[in-house]
């Protein structure tokens, strides 16, 4: 078969296709998003959808498994926290059709709020964990995962990391093997986890783990690659690649299945080599297990627990810092990310900054509202936290404090886990102001559909969630829509809402500018004769606007500016110096 270069995420999609998966679901989250995007784009044989959140995704995939289908749910590491509740019960019930949960972890937090190590979930929920180290293995492990799932009656976790998900390597393609959907058979003792069933199910689960441990001892994905006998390295995931590069001649125990742990293979290695090094990212998951067996090893004493590894960090961990002279670049200006030119979120953060509001934030592009000069965010914790955080601040600091505060949350994030927060505010007599930043897409992860866009993952027309009607149904009377590009309206509405003695919901509407790339806009320019160099427009934090110190004038980059789509700079300019470029 053909050889192609695929990312780890593309290889998950390919593996699901070849394994005959019927149903795949996910909530987007870096670094996992492209798994479902690729299934949606390339493999019509597999049903593919965006779920409102990761918990729903797992519940749907679980139901599909009960219904005899092979199913898959994909998410980023923190998404597994959201989905943990059904996952722990799923470990008890076991499966009917095979099930895989793909957890894409983010060591170094390239696009995340923490670097939790989800190998721990395997041990915690008592589920087998597979860890591929390149794209070919990703594809093979997906196929193997379904075999394990169905042979042992268990959900299976495949744990990726950013560098497995987003690095590309060579994959040999195979054919899809169709798997028939099994019949659904009513079985309350299996599918109803009420206490007297669950007690028996837990007993079965412990028996299953023993069998899985025997499998882990025997499987080829846990293998010793014999080299010299001075050093034996135990490693997993992408760390294997770094270890092989740094220690090309060492003996390596490569763990493709880290839970249940293959004790005998480690003992075999320990008997044959002089010393054992453990090369793993973040937590000492493997190391602790080896130590528990009474085998001495060198791991986190040398290998950093913080941030992702690479060949340089592994080399320096064991051989010390390289003596290479570094060229000093510490004086260079940084290049931080910013809200895009024309971003519809800008008006809310600009107004909040001007009104000196306390702003609880949430997870999405709009977290960038914290960057100077907007500097308009106080908290950002996890998906949906903005609303609960705001109400808690209100309870602690009182209603007058709350009258200078807003919660800001994106449309997709609100559906993910903001709705319950809003119910809390309405129910417990809050006066919190909630601004739903409705840009009509899940933007941060690259523009995915969600239940309020009116389109499915595959672009079919569907029902559309109505934020205004939803807020009203919760009992909130003051619900408004604002035009994200009308700064005066946004500011006035925020002022009014924050001073009200009741909860207010503002739906700030403006389509994500990245979703409007096909449209023609006339860029704006600065009339140098009218510009007085007051720098007010710079307060918008728009990447297209810069300041020419020599001329003491603002200037606008016509390639970056979306002008007529946005107009915010012309609205803040006190001398009407900004407008459409002449001659266009």
């Amino acid at each position: 078969m053909a050889k192609v270069v695929l990312s780890g995420n593309e290889a998950v999609a390919r593996g699901a296709y070849e394994a005959g998966v019927h149903i795949a679901t996910a909530y987007p989250g870096t670094p996992s998003t492209e798994i479902l995007e690729n299934i949606g784009r390339h493999y019509p044989e597999v049903y593919a959808e965006w779920a409102p959140n990761e918990k729903v995704a797992v519940e749907v995939a679980m139901g599909a498994s009960f219904g005899g289908a092979r199913s898959l749910a994909a998410m980023k590491h923190v998404g597994v926290n959201v989905a943990a509740d059904p996952m722990f019960s799923f470990a008890y019930t076991g499966i009917n059709g095979g099930f895989i949960l793909v957890s894409a972890d983010d060591p170094s937090m390239h696009s995340s709020q923490n670097e939790q190590d989800n190998r721990q979930y395997g041990k915690f929920a008592k589920l087998p964990v597979l860890e591929p180290s390149d794209s070919q293995e990703v594809k093979e492990f997906v196929i193997l995962g379904y075999q394990i799932s169905e042979r042992f009656n268990t959900p299976v976790i495949i744990r990726l990391t950013t560098r497995v998900s987003h690095s590309k390597s060579v994959v040999e393609l195979g054919e899809r093997k169709e798997v028939p959907i099994k019949p659904y058979v009513k079985d309350p003792a299996k599918y109803i986890v009420m206490p007297h069933h669950a007690r028996l199910l837990h007993r079965e689960l412990e028996e299953r783990l023993k069998k899985l441990k025997a499998f882990s001892e025997a499987t080829e994905v846990n293998r010793i690659e014999w080299g010299n006998r001075e050093i034996g390295i135990v490693t997993d995931s992408i760390s294997y690649q770094y270890a092989k590069e740094v220690f090309p001649d060492a003996t390596v125990l490569k763990l493709g299945m880290v839970f249940p742990f293959p004790d005998k293979k480690v003992r075999e290695l320990a008997a044959a080599v002089e010393k054992i090094y453990v090369v793993e990212e973040n937590e000492p998951f493997i190391e602790e297990h080896i130590r528990m067996l009474g085998i001495p090893c060198i791991g986190k004493d040398k290998v950093p627990i913080l941030y992702e590894l690479n060949q340089k960090r592994v080399r320096e961990a064991f051989f010390g810092k390289s003596k290479r002279e570094e060229i000093d670049i510490s004086d260079l200006p940084p290049r931080p990310p910013a809200l895009c030119p024309g971003c519809p979120h800008r008006s809310v953060y600009y107004a909040a900054h001007k009104l000196k509001l306390t702003v609880t934030g949430d997870i999405g592009c709009y977290t960038l509202g914290t960057m100077p000069p907007l500097d308009a965010m106080d908290t950002c914790i996890c998906m949906g936290a903005s609303i609960g955080n705001a109400f808690g601040l209100e309870l602690a600091q009182g209603k007058n404090f709350s009258k200078k505060m807003i919660a800001t949350i994106g449309d997709s994030t609100f559906i993910h886990s903001g709705m319950t927060g809003l119910a809390e505010v309405a129910y417990n007599k809050g006066i919190t102001t909630v601004v739903i930043l409705d840009n009509g897409v899940t933007a941060m992860t690259g523009g995915q559909q969600h239940p309020a866009t009116g389109k499915t993952l595959r672009g079919e027309t569907t029902r559309k969630l109505d934020f205004v009607a939803l807020a009203k149904a919760m009992g909130i009377e003051k619900v408004y829509e604002t035009d994200a590009y009308n700064l005066k309206e946004v500011k006035e509405r925020l002022k009014e809402a924050t001073t009200a003695d009741e909860p207010v919901v503002i739906v700030n509407k403006g389509k994500c500018i990245l979703e409007r790339r096909g449209e023609k806009f006339v860029p704006f320019a600065v009339d140098a004769e009218k510009c007085i160099g007051c720098k007010i427009c710079l307060g918008l934090g728009c990447p297209a606007i810069s300041f020419d110190k020599e001329k003491n004038k603002a200037q606008i980059d016509p390639i970056l500016c979306v002008g007529t789509a946005c107009t915010l700079c012309s609205q803040v300019c006190p001398t009407e110096a900004i407008g459409e470029m002449e001659g266009k």
Binding site: V5, P333, P543
Partner: protein, 196 residues
């Protein structure tokens, strides 16, 4: 002992076509019969931040990453990013840099200055330097978006991969209506090297 893989690091600003350039490079390496790996960082970098993508190819490649001192070629789409990533270059490495400036947010806001001595510092740090106005060549080729292929054109004169294979791979990966402009961009890039 195997030969160390060849490392190419592409750096610049979101939206400059860096990811596509490295996609083309990895397909090229595969069709030339090499093992190849590629890595990049997604997420926050898409919002106007710095972008970094790496391609490594050779007989066998383990790590998909390029760390400091491992880039045989540094392909810089923007001048400041060239200097920011200069420590990735091997001592004998080749720096191919677009001399255009894109202001980062602190410079645009007037809080910091765009360094005026970048070219001087690049000349001092990189033994092998090709500094060019790739944007002008891209416009000449017919579209500013062919910037990435101009830089690939320069790079192609250093790598021992047949020019026909480059052309074939670029044709396959760029949008259909942009093939001619990209072919012009590729050859304008190649001519840059000869003119030195």
């Amino acid at each position: 002992m195997m030969d160390r893989p060849t490392g190419i690091l592409a750096v610049g600003v979101g939206g400059q076509g860096i990811i596509l350039a490295t996609e083309i490079l990895s397909e090229l390496a595969l069709s030339a019969g090499f093992d190849v790996k590629k890595s990049e960082v997604h997420g926050m970098s898409q919002r106007g931040g710095a972008v970094l993508a790496a391609v490594r190819f050779g007989e066998k490649v383990y790590s998909p990453l390029i760390t400091e001192g491992e880039a045989d070629y540094l392909l810089a789409f923007e001048k400041l990013e060239a200097l920011r990533n200069i420590n990735y270059l091997t001592p004998d490495g080749v720096l191919i840099a677009n001399n255009r400036e894109i202001y980062p947010a602190p410079v645009a806001a007037g809080l910091m200055d765009y360094p005026s001595d970048i070219e001087e510092r690049l000349r001092k740090c990189a033994k092998n330097l090709v500094l060019l106005d790739a944007m002008e060549l891209a416009f000449k080729a017919g579209h500013p978006r062919t910037l990435n292929v101009v830089l690939l054109g320069v790079l192609s004169t250093f790598l021992k991969i047949p020019v026909e294979l480059w052309e074939k791979t670029i044709r396959r990966r760029v949008p259909g209506k942009a093939i001619d402009a990209n072919m012009r961009a590729f050859h304008l890039g190649r001519e840059q090297r000869r003119e030195e």
